[in-house]
């Protein structure tokens, strides 16, 4: 995927407004992510996190403002925009009766992409999937293993933008740590990552920037600095404060 955006940004959201009927869900959202940057978007229920992801993928039309994925407006060219996106839902649901390898081949096949077995295995290794799981049906896979398959898929597709929806919910601490390492791998490859999450600790561990979404707009943004990266207590205080009316 080549970048067409003059700014070179995989994701650029400017003054985005999205309404569901009479209800305004996103209200002047501004957000941009650079290549190789991990951005964590935190917010309470109903803050507009999922709608932000839906707008990036072109599933909901903006009332005003704009979204650009590698310079492409998903609303007008969804297929082109989605070529630049890998999306991992909260629970990565794969085809249970296919093996991990076959799932990868299936999802790549949808977009008429083909990879060699060696490439797929390299992606599995990079995603940290155990070798004995490559050719096993995913029916018995844990959430963490399913995520690794989905990350391997994102790696194989060489996408500039990875969207993660609550990736660490339901993961135990070790699996969360594994997952955070995977994000590091994506960063090294130059992919921009937008992670929508409730998990403040995980966000503080991995994200380069953390934005707090409230009532459809980012009300505070923190940047990782120094060896401690963030003042987690301060972040928590902000995160736990009452939602704006």
């Amino acid at each position: 995927m080549t970048y067409h955006e003059p700014s070179g940004l995989p994701l650029l959201i400017a003054n985005l407004v999205v309404d569901y009927g009479a209800h305004r869900v996103l209200n002047g959202l501004d957000l941009s992510i650079r290549p190789g940057e991990i951005y964590a978007l935190l917010g309470g229920n109903g803050a507009g996190k999922s709608t932000t992801l839906a707008a990036i993928m072109g599933f909901v039309p903006p009332a005003s403002g704009e979204v650009r994925v590698c310079g492409v407006a998903p609303g007008s060219a969804p297929v082109q925009a989605r070529r630049a996106i890998a999306y991992l839902p909260e629970n990565v649901a794969l085809y249970e009766h296919l093996t991990a390898r076959e799932n990868i081949q299936y999802f790549l096949g949808i977009s008429s992409e083909r990879r060699t077995n060696a490439e797929i295995e390299a992606a599995f290794n990079a995603a940290g999937l155990q070798e004995d799981a490559f050719n096993r049906r995913v029916a018995g896979f844990s959430k963490g293993m399913r995520q690794k398959v989905a990350i391997a898929l994102a790696l194989l597709r060489h996408v500039p933008l990875v969207l993660l929806d609550e990736p660490t919910s339901g993961l135990d601490p070790r699996a969360t740590q594994d997952f955070n390492r995977l994000l590091g791998g994506l960063r090294e490859r130059g992919s921009a990552v937008l992670m929508v999450t409730h998990d403040l600790l995980s966000a503080a561990d991995t994200a380069d920037r953390i934005g707090f979404l409230d009532a459809g707009r980012i009300v505070q943004e923190s940047v990782a600095e120094g060896p401690d990266r963030y003042d987690v207590r301060a972040l928590h205080r902000h995160f736990a404060r009452p939602v704006a009316a």
């Binding site: 993928m57 070529r83 839902p89 009766h97 296919l98 999802f107 949808i110 989905a150 969207l163």
Partner: protein, 417 residues
């Protein structure tokens, strides 16, 4: 092509889908085999009747030649008529299970002979035959429901829908591939046994192609119904229930209501009532003065009016004459019965234009030559043959010519279509 191969892999691995397709193929094969067996049985029965007919005629000839009476020959000799099944009859047996395909007629009154068959085997009319048309029209839509009820909702319920939709190249193309694959498998599981059956039966290519086309169109209709219901954004269970309701409505309830409406709109007496009316006319003839009956007969056959009159005692020419007069007396009812059947057939075709289940069934029996039209055509041939038969005996009866053994061989022979 990769994507299509992957869809096939996905389908193959979901055991239920594969089992459904194999089960449908097994049902289609069973129905085709059952149809071929039934058609073979009918052909064998027709073949068997020819030597038996010769034996029967020979036995009658041995006895009749002793008296030399043409009336005895006309009265006792049954003449075979038959309606061979078409090459495509195996696919849709239609009326052939309840209407006769073999009828032995005498030169006596025809109308009661034509509908005699309505007095036996009525239980066959209840379940109907298990043929390809039955599997296609009534059972195949259930397999469409099984394969399509969770096509979209299943993905939503499994949590994959958003991930799929976010994948480039998904969207409409993905569903077209998925639906296309299932549709092709459904059509193949039905059409391949049908084509094989057609080849075994020696059917014309056009006929087989038309039936395959109907199969494809009917399946496309049900897939469209399933797709439209699937788009309602309801759960898999609700989707399956809605599709089952559509099946019930479109294949059973509405056709049954249409049948009742047609029956009420075009009242037609049963053939057996016609048969009874004819019998009453025949039995009543014994109490009518002979000259009155003969005068009536000469209206239809003036060529025999100059022959010697009957003397009030029994004579075969009077006997055959009152049988013919009885036929003519119920001719208006027979015509109205036939007209009623044709009108019902015409109305059924109109209903078939709206209800695919009715339309496809009617089209199959039409192509297979097993519909009401085919039945009436066979009746027409019997009528024409019966006329030849009567007129064959009349010269012997009205000219008091003796009927010899050689004359049996001169009797007209039925020619099937």
């Amino acid at each position: 092509m990769i994507a299509f191969k992957n869809e096939w892999l996905l389908f193959r691995r979901s055991r239920l889908g594969l089992v459904m397709i194999l089960l449908l193929a097994a049902l289609a094969i069973a129905s085709v085999v059952a149809g071929l067996v039934e058609v073979d049985r009918q052909r064998a029965a027709i073949e068997r009747i020819h030597p038996l007919q010769k034996q029967d005629v020979s036995a009658i000839a041995n006895w009749v030649t002793k008296t030399g009476t043409a009336g005895d020959a006309a009265y006792f000799t049954f003449h075979e008529t038959w309606d061979p099944p078409s090459r495509l009859a195996f696919a849709a047996l239609g009326m052939r299970d309840v209407s006769p395909y073999l009828l032995r007629v005498r030169a006596l009154g025809l109308e009661s002979q034509l509908y005699d068959s309505e007095n036996y085997n009525p239980e066959l009319a209840l379940p109907g035959r298990f043929d390809y048309a039955f599997v296609l029209v009534y059972l195949a839509p259930l397999f469409v429901i099984a394969l399509f009820h969770d096509l979209i909702s299943g993905e939503r319920e499994a949590g994959r829908l958003r991930m799929l939709e976010a994948t480039p190249g998904a969207g409409r193309r993905l569903w077209v591939r998925r639906i296309g694959l299932r549709y092709l498998l459904l059509v193949a599981s039905l059409a391949l046994p049908l084509v094989a059956g057609g080849i075994v039966a020696g059917a014309h290519l056009q006929g087989i192609a038309a039936m395959v086309g109907l199969t494809a169109a009917y399946m496309a209709f049900w897939v469209l119904v399933a797709w439209l219901i699937g788009r309602l954004n309801i759960g898999s269970a609700a989707s399956a229930a809605s599709m089952a309701a559509a099946w019930l409505l479109l294949t059973l309830v509405l056709p049954a209501l249409a049948h009742v409406a047609i029956t009420r709109a075009v009242p037609v007496n049963q053939g057996v009532e016609l048969s009874l009316a004819h019998r009453d006319a025949v039995h009543g003839a014994w109490d009518i003065p002979q000259e009155k009956t003969m005068a009536e007969f000469f209206r239809y056959h003036p060529e025999w009016s100059d022959t010697p009159p009957t003397d009030g005692t029994f004579h075969w020419k009077w006997y055959l004459a009152f049988h013919h007069v009885a036929d003519r007396s119920v001719a208006p009812q027979a015509q109205s019965y036939r007209q009623g059947l044709l009108e019902r057939d015409e109305l059924t075709r109109w209903v078939g234009a709206v209800l695919p289940a009715v339309g496809v069934q009617a089209a199959f029996t039409r192509l297979a030559g097993t519909d009401i039209q085919a039945q009436l055509t066979y009746q027409d041939r019997i009528r024409a043959y019966h006329t030849r038969l009567r007129t064959f005996y009349y010269p012997y009866l009205f000219n008091d010519r003796p009927f010899t053994e050689a004359d049996f061989a001169k009797a007209p022979v039925f020619a099937p279509g």
